[in-house]
């Protein structure tokens, strides 16, 4: 067979896989995103993460006013893996942050917001009018700061009002980030969907603590914090599988991803994109490139041309 014809035929049958993905209306060149609160306060760092293979970065959760957060210790490394953090949502406030990212044209930025009443979210979204924002992520699930986060996510009526107000404030897609609170997270998901949410991120950290046996006191200054990293992966995976089995909504998987296999597991469970944070503590920023390469190899081996081909496959049986 002539060489040209051969290469044409083989390219017809074996397509180079693409890492591009869509989460509803949100289009990304790569499926791995930086999770909120990790390295998320400088545009220069966002650029670096983007060059290293992150498809998008989620900002630290921003509030209407700057917050200093809790005193140290704010982070604890768990024996056997994972972290417990109670940074206390320290952030420069939405207005300051918007000024910093105004010049951004390159990096897909998802702005994470935290607040206690619908007006907080309306105000903050307004601050970003002159910025290129890929999506907003409503943090309805921080487990260690009073009056925001989980306390909001646990109140269905408040979730409804916040999602509705936020949707009315912008045409940019809005994601709700859920976690494990006292209300069943599926109820929060369902309320958010009914109120018009565009996608769901699951999950946030899980409320936890650590006590030092020598000095016999809790280590974190806030006593309680949120557990992240490998120990929560099986829980997060279960949540993604449950949400995708019950609802027709684009999902971003988050919790404990540190290898390409973890990422693929989340796709198979029904996630269209993935966020990671803690893995950076172990493998540093190169982790994005390494996971992307692993996913590509897997797609070649399984003959998938796009991420979409894998999403939800584990539910076939």
């Amino acid at each position: 067979m002539n060489q040209l014809l051969y290469s044409k035929l083989s390219s017809l049958f074996k397509v180079e896989p693409s890492l591009a993905t869509s989460i509803g209306k949100i289009q990304l060149d790569k499926p791995m995103m930086l999770a909120s609160g990790i390295l998320g306060i400088s545009l220069d760092v966002f650029n670096r993460l983007y060059r290293s293979g992150a498809g998008a970065v989620v900002t630290k959760s921003l509030s209407t006013e700057p917050w200093e957060g809790y005193p140290n210790p704010t982070i604890f490394s768990v024996k056997g893996g994972g972290w417990i953090n109670a940074v206390g949502l320290s952030n420069p406030g939405a207005t300051n942050f918007a000024k910093m990212i105004e010049s951004n044209q390159t990096v897909p930025i998802v702005v994470s917001l935290v607040g206690s009443i619908p007006e907080d979210f309306e105000f903050m979204i307004k601050q970003f009018e002159n910025c290129k924002v890929t999506a907003y992520e409503l943090n309805l699930s921080c487990p260690h700061v009073a009056k925001v986060g989980l306390e909001v996510g646990d109140d269905p009526e408040l979730v409804r009002k916040i999602v509705t107000t936020s949707k009315n404030s912008t045409d940019v897609p809005i994601i709700a980030k859920v976690g494990l609170g006292t209300t069943h997270y599926l109820n929060t998901v369902s309320t958010a969907i009914d109120s018009g949410i565009d996608a769901i991120t699951a999950i946030n950290t899980v409320r936890a603590m650590a006590i030092d046996v020598e000095t016999q006191r809790p280590i974190l200054s806030n006593k309680f914090g949120g557990l992240s990293g490998t120990p929560i992966k099986p829980i997060a995976l279960r949540c993604v599988y449950e949400i995708s089995s019950k609802y027709d909504i684009p999902i971003i998987g988050c919790g404990g991803v540190s290898t390409w296999e973890d990422a693929v597991e989340f796709f198979l469970a029904g996630a269209s994109a993935i966020q990671l944070g803690s893995a950076i503590g172990d493998n540093w920023i190169d982790v994005f490139g390494e996971i992307n390469n692993g996913i590509l190899e897997y797609m070649k081996r399984k003959n998938y041309s796009s991420i979409k081909d894998m999403v939800g496959l584990a539910k076939k049986s």
Binding site: I38, V45, N72, S77, M100, T215, I219
Partner: protein, 270 residues
Amino acid sequence: MQRNHNHTTIVTIEKVIDETPTVRTLVFSDDLMSNVLPGQFAMVWIPGINELPMSVMISNEPGKAAFTVRKHGPASTGLFNIKEGQQIGIRGPYGNSFDLKKGKLLLVGGGTGLVPMMRLLSFVKPTDDVTVLIGAKSKDEVFFEDFANSMLEKNPHKVLVSTDDGSYGEKGFVTDLVEKLVNESHYDGVYVCGPEIMMYKTVQSAHSRGMFVQASLERMMKCGVGICGSCCVGEDLVCRDGTVFDGEHLSSNKEFGHFYRNKAGILEKY
């Protein structure tokens, strides 16, 4: 089993040395910390009070390590007030270390920035010709002068002190002395740790003359492991990419010497 450096280890303070009215050295036993590279730091937990990044000091005896702390705000005052027999938690070591050149070396330390410089001294070769510059506000705030001299007993060396008010040594900023020295002769390596403006000027003086220079940066640190983001300078994370950076790299960083971030992460001018 090898210790996971991220896990907090509790150590007991064995000796407290008063260096100046506001500076103390706390000595403890810990193999891992006694062997750290010059420039590395630990996250130090003062139970019930706070957790702070601290450079690891030199240890004269095997298996011992120390922190030298200046009392400042609530956290460092908490550490300053720790008594012999009390316990603190440590994790680390974190960060990279100085790249020690051979030959004619200039070490510049301001305040507790002297700590990593003392650690560096324990790594110099007897053939190196070493100049140490100590910058302090006034005479009572000068420390480690005798210590530096004793560390360098076997070397051709000079230990020079400058005080802002002229109450001891040369009068003026230590950076004026740096400018004078790098103008007079070539150094194979210049190392600096101290207030950022002092580091900025030292880096400029040496780098503009083509000398190899490194600075150990300080930023607000919460995690120490590269996840919280609070320590960023431009696109670098001080706890993970540093704390030591080359003059070459620093000259292209827009924030170094000009801006720092406060506890909420807002960029403020120096």
